[in-house]
């Protein structure tokens, strides 16, 4: 039938086995990053997954703070687990930017870059003489992405430190999340960083589009708190029209009925039946098809009345309690409403669908051996994203970058090393290679 034929065609079009035989969308774009933690590194990483060459500059010997962020202090092969998901296929160099020669070297890289990404506190790199004013004078085509918590200017931009969770608090995101009357919770992930990186990388692509038309680079000021504010859907228009604050509503969705997370026999399942057709499907699955005709529930507006929504969700919770995650997912597919498990890391790791799509990406790394990570998010038919190698220790690619990109001779590099201008990893867990690894033996 036609539909089966469609999926045969998409399976062929997006075949994972052919990814490395296809070109890359951002081939020829060079990103220079001087970043730490997640917001900056993942901005560059998302572009790198689609073919940009990323040179990651760190201050030797300790490098990026994220090299020491790992669950319960658990390191693996001398690396933090936190350092992997935002540092793929990059060239890692160590330059001491507190030294004048280090700044000069950095400027040579910036002169050859298309995009510069940084996430220092506002004005720091300008003070160091390697900020936008300095680099754009050298390279007017440069797109300079300055990521921060509060932006490059404005009252909060002056000296105030920020992390992901600061963005979650000041944006109001934490204030609208969780169960009424309970202490506030943070998002399980560093959501302000990750979403911020996606927004910043998107702006870099927009600026590249403009540069293709005009030859002109530009400056991008991206504040992660402001990205989260943008993402809070109807929060602000609601406050403006009603004068009311938006309070946490638990897992129920005040704008979508029915939508919730429910407990079942072997875990939790998210359920959403929002349009009338979806809601009729849910009622059929519950075994109460008449419910969909009841005036209390017949339209979305009626279902969103708080008392009606509570009544429906009570029914849904009672019904789901005795079923399994697989039962509920199958009923959603049969009746045309959304039902999906609350997936743990283990659920995702072993999921054949995610493996087939490369959303869970298994590969053999030259330094760390077998790796399993989240793969590139969007799947592009002609220019698919890919992972080439895993994160590397500080300064792992000094030789490659300084010789092949800057054209320095081995003796010049040696001289820079001996003066401490360039350097590599400390003999410290988090910074150093796995025990027994040979530098130069893997990319």
């Amino acid at each position: 039938m036609a539909e089966a034929e469609y999926f045969r065609w998409t399976a062929e079009l997006f075949d994972r086995a052919k990814i490395f035989d296809k070109p890359e969308a951002l081939a020829g774009i060079r990103i220079l990053e001087l970043t730490t933690l997640i917001l900056g590194p993942s901005t560059a990483d998302f572009l790198g997954e689609f073919g940009a060459e990323v040179i990651k500059v760190e201050l030797p010997p300790a490098g990026d703070t994220m090299r020491y962020v790992t669950p319960r202090g658990t390191f693996w092969k001398n690396a933090s687990l936190g350092f992997f998901p935002e540092n793929h296929s990059k060239y890692h160099v160590g330059i001491d930017l507190h030294k004048e020669d280090g700044k000069a070297l950095f400027k040579q890289l910036a002169a050859r870059a298309d995009v510069m990404v940084e996430n220092f506190r506002a004005g720091t790199l300008d003070r160091w003489g390697i900020g936008y004013r300095d680099l754009s004078a050298l390279n007017p085509r440069l797109i300079y992405v300055a990521n921060s918590g509060f932006g490059q200017w404005g009252p909060f931009a002056l000296g105030r430190a920020s992390y992901d969770a600061v963005a979650q608090t000041v944006s109001g995101m934490i204030g609208i999340t969780g169960f009424p009357g309970r202490p506030p919770i943070t998002c399980g992930i560093f959501i302000g960083d990750w979403f911020g990186a996606l927004m910043a990388a998107t702006a870099a692509l927009v600026a590249l589009h403009h540069r293709r038309r005009t030859g002109q680079g530009q400056f991008i000021d991206y504040a992660q708190s402001e990205g989260l504010i943008r993402s809070l859907d109807w929060t602000w228009v609601w406050a403006g029209l009603t004068g009311e604050d938006r309070a946490p509503a638990g897992n129920r969705d005040r704008a979508l009925g029915a939508s919730d997370i429910v407990r079942c026999r072997d875990g939790f399942v998210a359920i959403a039946a929002v349009t009338d057709a979806e809601f009729r499907g849910l009622c059929a699955a519950i075994g109460s098809p008449g419910l969909a005709e009841d005036p209390q529930f017949a339209t979305l507006a009626a279902r969103l009345e708080p008392a009606h929504a509570d009544a429906v969700l009570r029914r849904v919770r009672e019904w789901a309690a005795d079923l399994t995650r697989a039962d509920l997912e199958a009923l959603g597919e049969k009746h045309g409403f959304a039902a999906a498990r609350v997936a743990s890391a283990a659920d995702r790791y072993d999921d054949p669908h995610l493996r087939a799509r490369g959303a869970v990406w298994a590969y053999e790394d030259g330094l760390y051996g077998p790796m399993v990570e989240q793969g590139p998010a969007p799947k592009l038919s002609a220019t698919p994203g890919r992972i080439r190698w895993a994160a590397r220790p500080v300064g792992w690619h000094n030789e490659h970058v300084f010789r092949t990109i800057l054209g320095l001779s081995p003796s010049e590099i040696q001289a820079l090393e001996s003066r401490g201008v360039v350097g590599h990893w400390a003999d410290r867990v988090g910074a150093k290679p796995p025990d027994g690894a040979t530098p130069g033996a893997s990319p």
Binding site: T74, A161, D253, V274, A356, V372
Partner: protein, 443 residues
């Protein structure tokens, strides 16, 4: 259009403001004003956010709704409408041309094909295979327009073992499948299962906004490739995988140690202190997790002995130590307001009273955020006067850019408001043809 460079002697914040102040955005060109985008999404805010991003940067976006209007117009808290439209749609109708077209009707499909022949990007959110079945899928439209970038959003994507799943794409199911809901929320305490001690969704549509962000990113990456190759392509975007890409390092931890990451409320398992504490007026976030920053925080607290009690990152991220540290933090903040906490942190930081960087911020309600001058000065919020919808408080585009700043031009338009303008301009349809299409319910 060239912009006079700001006075180079200005201090950085003033220079950066002169470079990027969105109040002057209208004086500068738009990066994407050469693009025509068709947004055929239905009942889906991932699709709507994707086209909002492109529209904020200047693309001409034609929002194609079924003749009764997109069901997404009804997705609103308690079903509330402002004029004819729900509050969430008022936020994501921005800068778009709103037309109606019945794709269930052969003549409607023909009109879409004629528009697609001229378009640069098409966005859709139907169940995989539906557009293809209508003769409007990528493989049919590329015959008309090989430069077309076709972006399809679906929970399980367009290929892989579950791709044929007919479930509609919803926010809560994306949050669940991504793995983020699994690690967000309060753990079960000694009292066992409680209605609030369960996987918890972000209050906002984080799944849809991340999915939409990835769709815009994918379209822009594909446009970069088109500039090289002259060819469009098919972008397959699963919002669940988009959020999964941001799910930190849970898959890595499972891979390395077979540890499954579980939810921990406001205690971060990798960095601590990095948590929410109670003050006299609100909760506040506070962070000082590296050794140096923990020193700074214990200095600010006047409790340097805590540094000796919890000397290493591993000590501070241990599951049994975190509650102890948290109790000490709350003992300190017990008599302080959130402003006192901020004042003490800023006094330490700005007067360089000791080592370490400490970050803090009050947990805002949305109205707290709306009351802060910083966001208004930076143009993050606008009290927008829309000709049809009146005064609205809207979040502006989150990027500040020097050459091609994004901007908000109009908020939304009623169903079919741009039918005459768009069908006349792009397809040359005259009044009697439009009347006939309207009479037959095609537009």
């Amino acid at each position: 259009m060239t912009r006079p460079a700001p006075d180079p002697t200005l201090p950085w914040p003033e220079y950066a403001k002169a470079l990027t102040d969105p109040a002057r955005a209208r004086e500068r060109p738009e990066a994407l004003d050469d693009l025509l985008v068709l947004d055929c999404s239905q009942a889906n805010f991932a699709g709507l956010f994707a086209s909002s991003i492109l529209a904020e940067f200047g693309a001409t976006v034609i929002r194609i709704e079924p003749p009764g209007g997109d069901p997404a117009r009804a997705f609103s808290p308690e079903g509330r409408r402002h004029r004819d439209t729900g509050l969430a749609y008022l936020v994501e109708g921005r800068n778009k041309h709103h037309v109606t077209l019945d794709l269930d009707h052969a003549e409607g499909r023909l009109l879409l094909r004629r528009l697609a022949a001229k378009a640069d990007v098409l966005i859709e959110t139907f169940r995989p295979g539906v557009m293809d079945g209508w003769g409007l899928g990528y493989r049919q439209l590329r015959q008309l327009n090989s430069r077309l970038v076709y972006v399809a959003l679906a929970t399980y994507g367009q290929f892989g073992p579950r791709a044929a799943s007919p479930i509609p794409d919803h926010d809560v199911t994306t949050q669940a499948l991504s793995g983020v809901a699994h690690i967000t929320g309060e753990p079960e305490g000694p009292d066992g299962a409680q209605p609030w001690a369960m996987p918890t969704r972000q209050g906002s549509w984080a799944g849809w906004y991340m999915g939409g962000g990835w769709a815009a990113f994918a379209a822009l990456a594909a446009l970069a490739w088109r500039a090289t190759s002259g060819e469009g392509q098919f972008c397959d975007v699963s919002p669940a995988e988009g959020e999964m890409r941001m799910s930190d390092y849970g898959v890595h931890w499972y891979h390395s140690h077979r540890q499954v990451w579980e939810r921990t409320g406001a205690f971060n398992i990798s960095v601590f202190p990095y948590t929410l504490i109670k003050t006299t007026d609100a909760y506040s976030f506070i962070a000082g997790f590296s050794d140096a920053n923990w020193t700074g925080l214990t200095n600010i607290m006047g409790r340097p002995e805590l540094k000796e009690r919890f000397p290493t990152v591993r000590d501070r991220t241990a599951a049994d130590k975190q509650p102890e540290i948290h109790r000490e933090l709350e003992a300190w903040s017990h008599d302080l307001t959130s402003q006192d906490v901020l004042d003490r942190v800023m006094d330490y930081m700005l007067n360089k009273r000791g080592p370490g960087t400490v970050a803090t911020a009050r947990v805002n309600t949305p109205k707290d955020t709306l009351a802060e001058a910083h966001w208004w000065e930076r143009g993050v919020f606008q009290r927008f006067e829309d000709p049809h919808y009146g005064a609205l408080t809207l979040q502006a585009p989150p990027w500040k850019m020097s050459a091609t700043p994004p901007r908000l031009k109009w908020a939304c338009r009623p169903v079919g408001a741009d039918n005459v303008a768009i069908y006349t301009r792009y397809l040359g349809l005259g009044p009697s043809e439009l009347a006939s299409l309207r009479d037959r319910g095609i537009i």
